[in-house]
């Protein structure tokens, strides 16, 4: 059994955190809320997504797992107005989800979860350095880097968090000192990342005033932030590129 009501806007932004990496996802539903763990087809980035039942106006659920085509959901939300509520109800027999939104009633065929790539294991990583900053600053640096390169360095140099990109001829760098950051835990950190992935990830992150970035040396980066006004969280893990000599 699953029946829930939530702000369309909250759900829309929550789904977007998944759809930047995958087209389909397995949603694990329980009385506590909804959990998704997904990895992109190339195994370069994964997302872990937790949306607590408290994010919903109404939430009634047993344990179940459903598969959904995220692009279909995005299509539905593209017609949603501001401050609208969406009511979702699962019909287990027919494996369909009905969505009621501003007078519109959708019936969405679900995907067989077993046909969707299995949940990834989550690597246990000890990342030595951590910064907390406004998502907008992160996005600004990524956007600037995209203009000149397809990859970008994230690193920490004592009390400075830097984001740097180098193209064939040009270079761009954003230095952020402790006072422009919300928090900084200094450590040895310098890793190179693909901007294809980074720009997808910072898009939903840019809506958050507080994004945590955990880094190491030639290690994956963890990027985490809250969703649904604090009633949920999203964490990305992105594998680095290997710096060629």
């Amino acid at each position: 059994m699953f029946k829930a009501t939530i702000d369309a806007d909250i759900l829309k932004t929550a789904i977007e955190t998944l759809s930047v990496l995958v087209d389909e996802a397995r949603f694990r539903i329980s009385p506590e809320g909804i959990v998704v763990r997904a990895v992109d087809p190339a195994n370069v980035a994964m997302v872990s997504f937790d949306l607590n039942s408290s994010a919903f106006d109404e939430f009634n659920a047993d344990d179940s797992e459903i598969g959904m085509d995220l692009s279909k959901i995005n299509d539905i939300f593209s017609v949603a107005g501001r401050d609208e509520k969406v009511v979702m109800e699962l019909d287990e027999m027919s494996q369909k989800m009905s969505l009621h939104l501003g007078g519109l009633s959708y019936t969405l065929a679900l995907l067989d979860p077993s046909t969707i790539r299995a949940e990834p294991r989550i690597p246990q990583l000890e990342l030595p350095a951590e910064v907390v900053l406004n998502g907008k600053d992160l996005q600004r640096a990524v956007k600037a880097a995209e203009k000149i390169s397809d990859h970008m360095l994230l690193g920490i140099d004592e009390d400075v968090f830097y984001m740097e990109a180098e193209g064939d001829t040009d270079r761009v760098r954003l230095d952020m000192t402790r006072d422009s950051l919300i928090d900084l835990k200094s450590g040895e950190a310098r890793s190179l990342f693909s901007l294809d992935y980074l720009s997808d990830i910072v898009k939903p992150a840019s809506r958050s005033n507080e994004v945590t970035v955990e880094l190491g040396k030639d290690f994956p980066v963890k990027i985490g932030f809250a969703i649904a006004n604090g009633a949920g969280k999203v964490g990305y893990l992105l594998a680095p590129r290997i710096e060629s000599d």
Binding site: A42, V44, P123
Partner: protein, 338 residues
């Protein structure tokens, strides 16, 4: 070719994509032979350039390897080195069969018997030194590594799997199981539509996975007894016991426990028995290899295939684009961090 124990073995059908991120050691001679025998025109003539050089293997390496690399497989070719001495009689026999087939092919072609011609043409396929050299050249240009085995390629490949450097062996033969490879994939390089011999029927050939341990458990034998069964049936190194097929061999090995007891009971002998058994158990192998997948050197591939061997530049370029997208990227994957 190879030991004929296939009917004893259980296998599961898989998709190429199930091997994504697997390092697959490809039995090079076996695979090149498959390319040479399958990639042919209707009357059995292999693909050739304007100079008359055979190019079936090059076509196979470029297009089929691109397909499996695109599916996420990391292939490494393992080439045979010097065959063990007791293989020479097999090699001689194969040469005879091939020469014979070649003559019959010419005959059938003359008489306009297309089916016959195709059959004999396939049987006359031969992996010679030029084909090996050209294949290595193309693989290097494509960024796919290869290993030169000191002796049998399958033995080296099995060693690489046991050592953990490779995940699977791809071969049509079952010999790598005798060398102790835990997992063998068949049909990897020949998957797709394939024509049934002598019939005008096409079947969809899918890769299949053979798990050594599962099969040993299922058959109720150990690794050494599997080798004994092979010796009864006949391997590349011995003729086998007359009239004994795989099922009888299994029964005999279970009844008598070992090949030695069977031979004693039947008053028979296998030449070089000790040597052959030892060869399967600890064949010559090498640690002298490096597995690195590089970005394809497109201009080298194009000048070799299109410049020297008349391939269509358009098609080669398209394959290279697909290859480039999958190979030698400096993006690491999360698997590395588990």
């Amino acid at each position: 070719m190879g030991v004929d124990i296939g009917e004893l073995l259980k296998r599961s059908t898989i998709e190429v994509s199930d091997l994504s991120l697997n390092v697959v050691a490809i039995d090079a001679f076996n695979t090149l032979y498959q390319f040479l025998s399958i990639i042919r025109q209707r009357d059995g003539t292999p693909l050739k350039d304007s100079q008359g050089n055979i190019t079936s293997h090059l076509s196979g390496i470029l297009y089929r390897m691109t397909n499996i690399v695109e599916a996420g497989v990391k292939p490494v070719f393992v080439f045979d080195g010097k065959p063990p001495e007791f293989k020479y009689s097999t090699i001689q026999k194969r040469t005879e069969v091939r020469e014979n087939a070649k003559a019959k092919w010419a005959e059938a072609k003359e008489q306009g018997l297309a089916e016959e011609a195709y059959k004999y043409a396939q049987a006359s396929a031969r992996v010679d030194a030029t084909i090996v050299e050209d294949s290595k050249k193309l693989l290097t240009a494509m960024g796919i590594p290869y290993v030169d085995a000191p002796s049998e390629g399958e033995a080296q490949a099995a060693y690489m799997v046991k050592k953990g450097d490779a995940d699977r062996i791809a071969s049509q033969d079952y010999d790598s199981l005798l060398f102790g490879s835990p997992k063998v994939v068949r049909n990897l390089t020949v998957s797709g539509k394939r024509k049934l011999p002598k019939k005008n029927i096409y079947v969809d050939v899918k890769p299949e996975l053979i798990d050594l341990k599962e099969n040993l458990d299922e058959l109720g034998i150990n690794q050494s007894q599997l080798i004994d069964i092979a010796l009864c049936v006949g391997t590349d190194y011995n003729d086998g016991i007359e009239g004994v097929g795989p099922k009888t061999a299994l029964k005999l090995v279970k009844e008598y426990g070992s090949i030695e007891n069977i031979l004693q009971e039947k008053g028979l002998e296998i030449e070089n028995l000790e040597g052959i058994k030892e060869f399967f158990k600890s064949p010559p192998v090498t640690d002298d290899y490096s597995l690195k997948w590089n970005k394809p050197d497109s201009s080298a591939v194009i000048s070799f295939l299109c410049g020297e061997h008349d391939f269509s530049e358009d098609r080669v370029t398209k394959a290279l684009e697909r290859l480039e997208a999958s190979l030698g990227s400096d993006q690491s994957t999360l698997d590395k961090w588990f």
